[in-house]
Amino acid sequence: MVETGHFALVLAFAMALVQSVVPIAGARTGDERLMAIGTPAAVTGFLLTALSFAALVTAYVQSDFSVANVWENSHSLQPLIYKITGTWGNHEGSMLLWVLILTLFGCLVALFGGNLPPTLKATVLSVQGWIGAAFFLFILATSNPFVRLNPAPIEGRELNPVLQDLGLAIHPPLLYLGYVGFSISFSFAVAALIEGRIDAAWARWVRPWTLLAWLCLTGGISMGSYWAYYELGWGGFWFWDPVENASFMPWLAGTALLHSAIVMEKRSALKIWTILLAILTFSFSLLGTFLVRSGVLTSVHAFATDPSRGIFILCILTLFIGGSFALFAFRAQTLAAGGLFHPISREGALVLNNLFLTTAAATVLVGTLYPLVIEALTRDRISVGAPFFELTFVPVMVPLLLAVPFGPMLAWKRGDLYAAGQRLFAAFSLALLAGIGVLLFIDRTAVFAALGIGLAAWLLLGAATDLVLRSGIGSVPAHVVWRRVVGLPRSVFGTALAHMGLGLTLLGIVSVNTFQGEKIVAMNPGDNIAVSGYALHFEGMKAAEGPNYSENRGVFDVTAPDGRSLGTISSAKRFFPARQMPTTESGIRTFGLGQLYVSLGDPDASGAMVVRAWWKPLVVLIWMGGVVMMLGAAVSLLDRRLRVGAPSRRRKPVPKLADSSS
């Protein structure tokens, strides 16, 4: 089975080479038979990669320690779920997952792209083939997961205990679906440049793929953030770690791309810019892959350092980013410029959005790469952390967030800012009240928190205002409202949901950063502490055995601020004998939208346990906001206009009563 996987991988590489050359050759010469090879090549390539991946998963499930990769990252006593997820909990396996998802997207374009112009489809599949071939070669040459050991060891070295968590089952696949999903918009952009032709239909084909990738990336980042929050035991949800930034930059650029593609689709404007953003977004994805996989950074994600891999990925990176930008430089002027618009208009607002988002991505890029550049130039080793990003990223984002509610209120071509302001007056007043309320009733010194919460309320209420006005709630009878709601394009709800999600996340971040309560104390059994009104009574330590670890669990009784008993919360120190490695399992209980978080340390000089306890008000909103954003993307994806597979269908004539201002 293992050799089958290896051979399938080699064949998939060969198939990617076919896909790289034949369809595009057909598109250039106008040979339909050559172009038609793209579809079966993409489908076969995916099936071969899936077979290869299945072979590796099987080796993990069977604990076949004759495979070096399994030996290094699995153990016979590991629970089955961690044996399976361990497949991608290491460098080689995660790269295999990367190409699996790449070929999956290629396969989806091949299957659902039936109504694309044949030359465009052939060229897109070929560009996908180039990316695939490069990464297959990378895996086969430097990171082969199927290398055998002889003699086979009896027991494996076990998956890093930090990774033995359900988060590993969700976070990397979702993140890769996002990262790699942007390869489709990249391929479409490169294909448009090669063909020298681009129109509104192009944007309509690209937008669902971008939306899908963005949905997955949003989920991947939120999930990663929550995982780091509960697994690392530090109680933080975002560390501005270079690897987090590596996933955040494509998200920012991808968000910009989503918005500029709207302008291109509706108004045929910003064509060149949209192409550039599509290239940029996938470049950020590749850069992220390079940063994480090359070992230039120390991080939880850098599984192993091997210089040959770094140089190989750097070559791929240079080839694709350099090549696509060169192509852009040569061909961009062949694309005709589109419609004109007034600065105060929907288009203008979306350009503003793009300006701010790309600048924000640039500040993150500078903060992430600066230490690497400085080290290469001066040998000085520096780190750029949260203080840098608070001073650069935050000031760039705040004006953008202030502008968000105006965007959907402005008309295409020429908008009326004054009228939009009038319509948003209620939302603005309520947001202002929310901010003032924070100052008056919660904390008179928390000026920044008040501003932050006001801003979050502004986003939430602004998005709600848009829906209220479009549906006519309060101004027309209920049955008309209902008809309007049904008649509204789904993308209107998608926009509102995504913007609300942003507001929720912001509310959670501000609330936790300002109002969380924290205690670090050494406790003996029977001791009590209180954190933000919640009383914790330390019951004592309990020893227990897990399948592949032993643990020492500290149990606490929790009492609510009003005196009710809330049961217990427990945090454990686990020890994994296979790796001789301890981990901390933090204890988390959710009450409303806040969480009580307890993390155990080591015993102090007198034998008392060091305990760190937090009350994190509204912390759940941080990730709930991410989920709402995903929901928004999903609703938009269901919009008839964008439905994958039916992109060119005309909208039905809208009934007179329905609002068609979008």
């Binding site: 600065p343 080793r381 520096i382 780190s383 952390g385 760039v396 670090i520 120190k573 080591d602 760190r612």
Partner: protein
């Protein structure tokens, strides 16, 4: 305003914004980036008390002292010089004597280093990269 003037004003506005963002980035890089030192580097470098730096090395053998509550003191060494570090909080799981560590914080006027974050490696196999490279540069690297 003519169309040309409008376009120019939009471009000027965008450039002003980009300029402001660039200026902010430079200021932030100058002020907020923290440098990494090993104990033996500190003599040559002029690190003021209160200046935020990252200090890395190995946890000195036999140096870990648990104080009152969650306070803990330990020595960070590169086998040439040693710096005393105090930290209040929970140490990472893989924090051990003789192992690589990176601490972030600043010196008090009395010469002790007060760390507000302590990072150890994530896995028993790998050292923090800066520490490994620093030790290699000083010729005291012992591969395990």
């Amino acid at each position: 305003m003519t169309r040309k003037q409008k376009r120019l004003s939009v471009i000027a506005g965008a450039l002003c914004f980009l300029g402001a963002a660039t200026a902010l980035t430079f200021v932030a890089l100058g002020q907020k980036a923290s440098y990494f030192y090993m104990p033996a580097d500190l003599k040559a470098a002029s690190v003021e008390p209160g200046q935020r730096i990252r200090l890395g090395g190995l946890v000195e053998n036999g140096s870990i002292v648990h104080g009152k509550g969650a306070e803990v003191m330990f020595g960070v060494t590169d086998n040439k010089d040693t710096v005393k570090v105090t930290y209040t909080g929970i140490l990472p799981d893989l924090f051990r004597e003789g192992q690589g560590v990176v601490t972030e914080g600043s010196f008090r006027p009395d010469g002790t280093f007060v760390a507000d974050s302590v990072l150890a490696k994530h896995d028993e196999r790998y050292m923090p990269k800066e520490v490994a490279e620093g030790l290699k540069a000083k010729g005291v690297w012992q591969p395990d």
